[in-house]
């Protein structure tokens, strides 16, 4: 990371010492001023007596890389207010963008999802704060007679927070009060245990979503300009780096083991659509290649979405991703949206 020049610190100091304190984490003046504004609002909302010194302390903490969302205790996510606690991954704006896009696709009816037209079941693995199932529920509950959304996570902290987020957003009126025809649940399970498949198999699942850990051990340990300092230092590696205690399937990389597992679960649950967040173009290539090799039947459609899938592609970005196959041939997968390659969307035939 390039160092921040002294003149920028001087300029920040002229604004206020708090802006200068925020600069190392924010990197530029407008962001630092913005974050100071949000921190001020937060401090003014507390019952603290020495507000000035509290603000200075928080600015220093933030400047050292502690995530703003952990200090403020929340992150807006669409119409929701998602509570954030140390130990659970903070929802990212890209996740918000593809979740919206998925909800729009489902609403438009172009997926032809669901056995009968007015029922929908969605399962989200590695749910963390519960941001994805909560947002899908908030966006879709009026559209369906029976909507079931389930979030699954291994972490006790995440489960507690996700359930807390349901209550919190129901209280705020962002989610409707409990309705008999709908379901929004959070379940604690280790998806590498086969019981989870047995438990879920009895029900019909239309859509499967997941934002699993996908950062390689190497990038996590060495950073190397790949993983942000604040993320490495303060966010839980459990949510970011695949664990080491499960065997790596043949022909898979360690950082991709969750995708191997999720595609296996999908073969049992038989959803009509799968949406997986991925780290970069190469990971997308590897995962799609594995999927195509294991599902050679032609009645599936694979798409790659960028960070902002509902925006038009700006500039000269590729609109096709070449996937090398084991037999030496290659397949071209369409890419849509703007930004970096962010997720894989698979439509499966009946």
């Amino acid at each position: 990371m390039p160092r921040i020049s002294p003149w920028l610190f001087r300029k920040a100091n002229r604004h206020s010492p708090n802006v200068a304190a925020l600069l190392p984490a924010c990197r530029d003046l407008p962001s630092a001023i913005n974050e100071l504004r949000w921190l001020k609002e937060h401090v003014n909302g507390t019952a603290h007596l020495a507000k000035g010194s509290l603000l200075a302390r928080l600015c220093k903490k933030r400047g050292q890389g502690y995530p703003l969302q952990y200090i403020l205790g929340s992150q807006p996510f669409g119409p929701l207010d998602i509570k954030c606690r140390s130990g659970v991954l903070i929802p990212r704006p890209e996740t918000e963008a593809y979740t919206y896009h998925l909800a729009d696709l489902i609403k438009s009816g172009s997926l032809k999802i669901g056995g009968s037209k007015h029922d929908l079941s969605v399962v989200d693995f590695c749910t963390g704060t519960g941001c994805i199932p909560l947002l899908l529920y908030a966006l879709l509950y009026q559209k369906f007679d029976h909507l079931n959304v389930l979030g699954v996570d291994i972490s006790t902290q995440a489960i507690k927070l996700a359930r807390g987020n349901i209550d919190h957003n129901t209280r705020l009126g962002n989610l409707p009060d409990l309705q008999l025809n709908h379901g929004l649940d959070i379940m604690q399970e280790d998806i590498f245990h086969d019981e989870v498949i047995e438990k879920l198999k009895g029900r019909n699942w239309d859509v499967m979503v997941s934002n699993p850990p996908y950062i390689s051990r190497r990038a996590w340990n060495h950073g190397g300009g790949q993983v942000g300092y604040s993320v490495r230092k303060y966010e839980p590696s459990l949510a970011l780096v695949p664990r080491d205690d499960v065997p790596i399937p043949v022909n898979w990389n360690h950082e991709d083991i969750f995708y191997a597992r999720l595609l296996k679960i999908a073969r049992h649950l038989k959803p009509r659509a799968i949406l997986l967040e991925i780290g970069d173009k190469e990971q997308a290539r590897r995962v799609i290649s594995q999927f195509l090799q294991n599902n050679p039947s032609a009645n599936s459609e694979v798409q790659v979405w960028r960070d902002w899938p509902d925006l038009a592609s700006a500039g000269d970005k590729d609109c096709l991703l070449e996937i090398p196959m084991q037999d030496g041939s290659s397949r071209a997968i369409p890419i849509q949206g703007d930004g970096n390659i962010r997720s894989i969307f698979i439509k499966l035939g009946a």
């Binding site: 913005n34 604040s230 960070d307």
Partner: protein, 194 residues
């Protein structure tokens, strides 16, 4: 945006269209004008908007925790560019940016007849009138003081012009007590509005 936020922050959060009657109940000026305001301009259709997020190069997703969700919109037909980073919410910023863009496009197309120009003109009129009244009030107070001082000092050698002006002013303010009270009420909301 700033046109409404000024006084909205002092009132409960209600849409400003509902806040307006409350606002002008303090005054008699411009009531008719406020009723005939053009409607809030609608944001241009998405097909005319080019949207972009401030995104650093390099990785995103889990690897980076961004707090900046600024949204930038470009209105293609006019080339107007607006940006919103008011909130931490991407969707809220998208909405705000569209509202700001709608206002800018309205100003660009309708000029003096745009909603913001008309609102601005009404506000200016009110502020001018308030300033005028306050000038009048303080001039009167000053003059009254002067008169009192003059009486105490019993030096009534002032030139006749000023006395004439003074007396004409006092006749103008025949309903002094009333106007004085009105002035006090009116000054407060006008402070919020500016």
């Amino acid at each position: 945006m700033s046109r409404s936020i000024g006084f909205l922050t002092t009132l409960p959060l209600v849409p400003s269209t509902r806040a307006i009657p409350r606002f002008h109940s303090f005054s008699t000026l411009g009531a008719a004008l406020l009723k005939n305001l053009p409607p809030r301009p609608k944001p241009p259709p998405d097909s005319e908007i080019e949207e972009s997020y401030l995104k650093g190069s390099g990785p995103g997703g889990q690897k980076i925790n961004k707090t900046n969700s600024a949204v930038q919109l470009k209105h293609i037909p006019t080339g107007i560019v607006v940006k919103s980073q008011a909130t931490r919410s991407r969707s809220q910023n998208r909405k705000l940016a569209r509202e700001i863009l709608a206002q800018k496009v309205d100003e660009f197309i309708n000029g003096d007849q745009s909603r913001s120009a008309i609102v601005g003109a009404i506000k200016k009129k009110k502020a001018d009138s308030a300033a005028k009244k306050s000038r009048r009030k303080y001039r009167r107070l000053e003059e009254e003081e002067e008169v009192a001082n003059a009486e105490v000092a019993a030096t009534l050698e002032d030139n006749p012009d000023e006395i004439a002006e003074q007396s004409s002013d006092t006749t103008n303010l025949g309903r002094i007590p009333n106007i004085g009270i009105h002035n006090n009420y009116r000054l407060e909301p006008l402070h919020w509005a500016t």
